[in-house]
Subunit: 329 residues, 2 copies
Amino acid sequence: MVKTRIGILGYGNLGRGVELACRQNDDLELVALFTRRDPASVHPLADSVTVYAADDLAAHADDVDVLVLCGGSANDLPEQTPACAQLFTVVDSFDTHANIPAHFAQVDAAAREGGQVAIISAGWDPGMFSLARLYAGCILPEGGDYTFWGRGVSQGHSDAIRRIPGVADARQYTVPVPEALEAVRSGQMPELSTRQKHTRECYVVAEEGADLAAIERAIVTMPNYFDEYDTTVTFISQEELDRDHAGIPHGGSVIRSGVTGEQGEHRHVVEYSLKLDSNPEFTGSVLAACARAAHRLAREGQTGCKTLFDIPPAYLSPRSAEDLRAHLL
Amino acid sequence: MVKTRIGILGYGNLGRGVELACRQNDDLELVALFTRRDPASVHPLADSVTVYAADDLAAHADDVDVLVLCGGSANDLPEQTPACAQLFTVVDSFDTHANIPAHFAQVDAAAREGGQVAIISAGWDPGMFSLARLYAGCILPEGGDYTFWGRGVSQGHSDAIRRIPGVADARQYTVPVPEALEAVRSGQMPELSTRQKHTRECYVVAEEGADLAAIERAIVTMPNYFDEYDTTVTFISQEELDRDHAGIPHGGSVIRSGVTGEQGEHRHVVEYSLKLDSNPEFTGSVLAACARAAHRLAREGQTGCKTLFDIPPAYLSPRSAEDLRAHLL
């Protein structure tokens, strides 16, 4: 068995998810955590993992086979991934869909310059959902794609609510509209507006004496985040929020509905769906599998930026090709 | 755009499905049909397709880029695929799971000897279901796999009923047990016996004067096919069978349920499901996408036998890597 020595840059929810995933895979050995906090304040689950300052990354290029970047897509990864890809085989979960081509170009240039492999946008969307869209589209070229998210917590929307004056804390759930899901699953290929596909549920803790009506109005009219959706706002206490909304569940469905036949008389519906108790732990598990694949690509001498679209599925697995053919094919 | 010239060997339901799929893809050009019947008796949809005798295959090795083998797994493919892989880039849908390793070895040896690429076991199970099992297993190593088939027509079980004395015609549906599906989808990871997962519905046309009780007994006690299932037998007229059971629908779900977290406290459920109006047309569409991938592998100079596990997903698509990243990732 080939062992892959893993380093993690950034030890928030996602970094912790990668750490937990490494514990489930005998061939993935977490050896180093890199943090921008004081290393003495960071405590990984296993004593065998050394914590370094992020500034010392370059000194440890030979200590890890794959560096998994667990920063945010808005502020961290656009700089971190290209910088690290010059020195390390890297994997990230860059998820700002509109900026993927630009991110790819920058990471690809850096990785080629450094003779490294980089895998970007690994996770579930982008990631597993993207694969579902790609495969189904190749099989059913005449059809339509539908992606539903939820029921699950949107961190970005929760943060947007927390920035409103008078809000102490908040949790936002994205919820697919059941009738829309059913219509798509039936193969009808409906045209659906943003409002028809998802609703948004907001659980808000207000500061004492805050103007609740003003908070609600600020939420439901917020451009880009809420104005195109049917949004419900429920004010609850901090205790209720902590008790009932502490988890980070998510999920959703990618559905492709298409036709075949002489006159398109046969309908087919392909659905890939996820129900996740922990968004960051599932995403971390995808990153871990991609780290294994990245190490294999690097051992083959490949360089440059890749996505899940470019990776033979077997490369994600610790099992041999023979084993996979005999037991999973 | 690279054009791929397709040949089809065997023009039954599956061959017809591949033919229809080629019409949906501008880059796939069906140029030749090879048949064991009298070529004059075979009429492809387009006049531009030439029909040849299967015996003349070798003379046309330069006329097609990929030969799609549409024979049966029991009797045709074990001989056809290795024989053809010496001369052609080939794709087949070999689906006898237990014999895949042996088939792979024979096809691999033949393809390497001929300097060709072969893709075997393309379809939905094996095929898309196998990919679903592989990906989900890589992400959630601590978990369980469940595959449900149906509601759909099993050709093999229908044939088995037709071989019973007194049976004129029959159609068998494999049906998942709803309670079992729900239990798995909830993340419970139940242990399920064969009987608990699927039921079998048989619609039988009896010959005049046949002993219906004897036929029913012969069906429900038939080893391997029915004895381990709860089976219902309904006798109907030939008219009813032709009217209500003419289609070849199928589908099913691959579900992986697994846990992450410090103590496995977070459950995740990954489901890939298909609802297909036409089993052979969907399978034919998978074969067509794999033919595109096979041609690309061949152009790269690769040789030997591959499965969907070995193929970068983007190779199945006619779209460029840039286009896929910008619009599907």
